[in-house]
């Protein structure tokens, strides 16, 4: 066998190994993103379970916010039944976050409610879930960022285009989330 053939074979071999490793890491990143999204889903379901609890606890006190409760209950129904795209799910949950945030803010006007044990417990539980939800979102965003970077940078984008890896959208921080961070600092 002559030398040039060996060199060509070696180069092809290296190229193959590189392609495989890039492909595998892309699959790995995509699965991490999927997994992270599934985690968000788990947290969202926990939050759905909390909504009736929240509505029942505050309903008696907050007579003026009746419409908000109805809308929240309706959104929850939709969210539970929804088996469509991730984007629609994200959108629906952003609305839910908004409404829940509004309710928690309006509570300020009802001192009796604010002091009740039931509500205090609920407030803690909601804060807990929101914190876990935020952690899942951040995990998802990190995984997606890594995937996106890999699908867009040279030379791994060649492999990504070849096997049709697409960039995924990031979660934007919701209005309530942004507000909460400001308060915490």
């Amino acid at each position: 066998m002559n030398t040039s053939l060996i060199i060509i074979l070696a180069a092809l071999g290296i190229l193959l190994i590189w392609t495989l490793s890039v492909y595998n890491s892309l699959v790995n990143l995509r699965n991490m993103a999927k997994n992270a999204f599934a985690n968000i889903d788990v947290m969202l379901k926990k939050r759905y379970d909390l909504i009736p609890n929240l509505v029942n606890t505050v309903k008696g006190y907050m007579k003026h916010e009746k419409e908000t409760f109805e809308q929240l209950t309706k959104l929850r129904q939709q969210a539970i039944q929804l088996e469509t795209s991730d984007d629609a799910k994200v959108d629906l949950n952003n609305q839910i976050s908004e409404l829940m945030g509004n309710i928690m803010v309006s509570v300020e006007a009802y001192p009796d409610l604010k002091a009740s044990d039931n509500f205090l417990h609920l407030q803690r539980t909601i804060a807990e879930i929101e914190e876990q939800l935020s952690a899942s979102r951040r995990s998802y965003n990190m995984a997606v960022t890594e995937l996106n970077t890999k699908t867009e940078t040279i030379p791994s984008n060649l492999i990504a285009n070849l096997f049709k890896f697409k960039r995924k959208p990031l979660f934007q921080a919701t209005a309530t989330e942004r507000k909460r961070v400001e308060v915490e600092i």
Partner: protein, 327 residues
């Protein structure tokens, strides 16, 4: 929490007179000890002088050494008897350091000779090497508002034995950790472990950071805060839990806490609902001086600040904010 200014006033009104009294003890202690040391060096000098000046027979030298040895033992016993009631170091810790701790917070208790337990040290998962020698003192424990804390000075070592060129066994001691070790109840409930180790590699070299954690059960986690990533390498058993613990606000707080220690490596871990902070110091902490006066405001101020910075972890990391499900 008490300020530096308040401490200066406290020093003038309370601490100073205690220190002056204690400094008398130090002088007495050093007088007797220097008497012994002086005797020892004088004896050695005489033996050496006699040996080279007169070059006597070996028996005479041996006799001389024995005579001096007996004399030194007698002096030693005398010095020991005179100074054993002085307990200079113990007195310093139990009077001075204790009152500094109480000045910082009345709710804290101080035990000069106790330390953080080895099981707590191991539980932190900060240092995974074996432990052959575990020493420590200056134990402080108590509650700051709702958060239970404890910390102490620790010096943890492991040993290696090897044979040198002459075939003799040699034991070497290596430091695992030396400095202040802090533990507190964390305000969120969680399982598993998240470890923050000092980052010496800067922003890049993610590959090496992953390799560095290969022996751990925790995996490398890249977080969103770039300053934080420059300060620490995060390893966790679960990346979502790591983010649940390390909220963006907490990462900022940890960054500014770390700025308090520009020279000392700081490691932090979160294990099963507790936070552990290890701050490395090369010197021994909270010790009295022996060869110079004890009445020094700046020295006391630095002891005060060393303790206060650690106690302040609770406030600085907001551990009293109990808005999550953990009560």
């Amino acid at each position: 929490m008490r300020s530096t200014e308040a401490f200066k006033a406290f020093y003038e009104s309370e601490l100073k007179k205690e220190l002056i009294a204690l400094d008398e003890v130090r002088k007495r202690y050093m007088k007797f000890n220097s008497l012994f040391l002086l005797g020892f060096f004088l004896a050695v000098a005489i033996v050496v002088w006699v040996k080279y000046q007169f070059q006597p027979r070996a028996e005479i030298i041996i006799g001389l050494v024995l005579a001096f040895a007996v004399a030194l033992i007698i002096v030693g016993v005398y010095v020991y008897k005179e100074t054993k009631d002085l307990n200079y170091k113990q007195d310093f810790k139990n009077r001075i350091i204790k009152s500094i701790v109480h000045f910082i917070s009345e709710d804290l208790m101080y035990k000069a000779n106790q330390k953080i337990s080895p099981s707590n040290f191991k539980k932190s998962r900060l240092f995974l090497s074996s432990i052959d020698r575990y020493r420590g003192d200056d134990y402080v424990a108590g509650k700051i508002d709702q958060t239970a804390i404890q910390f102490s000075e620790l010096h943890v070592q492991y040993k290696t034995t090897s044979n040198n060129s002459k075939g003799q066994r040699q034991t070497r001691w290596h430091t695992v950790f030396k400095g202040l070790f802090f533990q507190a109840d964390f305000n969120k409930d969680f399982e598993g472990s998240t470890v923050l180790l000092p980052n010496y590699l800067g922003k890049k070299f993610t590959f090496f950071k992953k390799i560095a954690g290969a022996t751990r059960k925790e995996k490398y986690v890249k977080l969103e805060d770039t300053t934080f990533n420059e300060n620490f390498n995060c390893y966790s058993t679960d990346d979502i839990k790591a983010r649940y613990i390390l909220s963006p606000a907490l990462m900022q707080r940890i960054n500014s806490f770390k700025d308090n220690y520009p020279k000392n490596p700081v490691s932090i871990s979160f294990v099963d609902g507790a936070i552990y902070v290890a701050i490395s110091y090369s010197k021994d902490l909270f010790e009295p001086t022996y060869f110079s006066s004890l009445v020094k405001r700046n020295m006391m101020l630095s002891y005060f600040e060393d303790i206060k910075l650690v106690v302040d972890i609770v406030e600085e990391l907001n551990l009293n904010t109990r808005i999550w499900s953990k009560e």
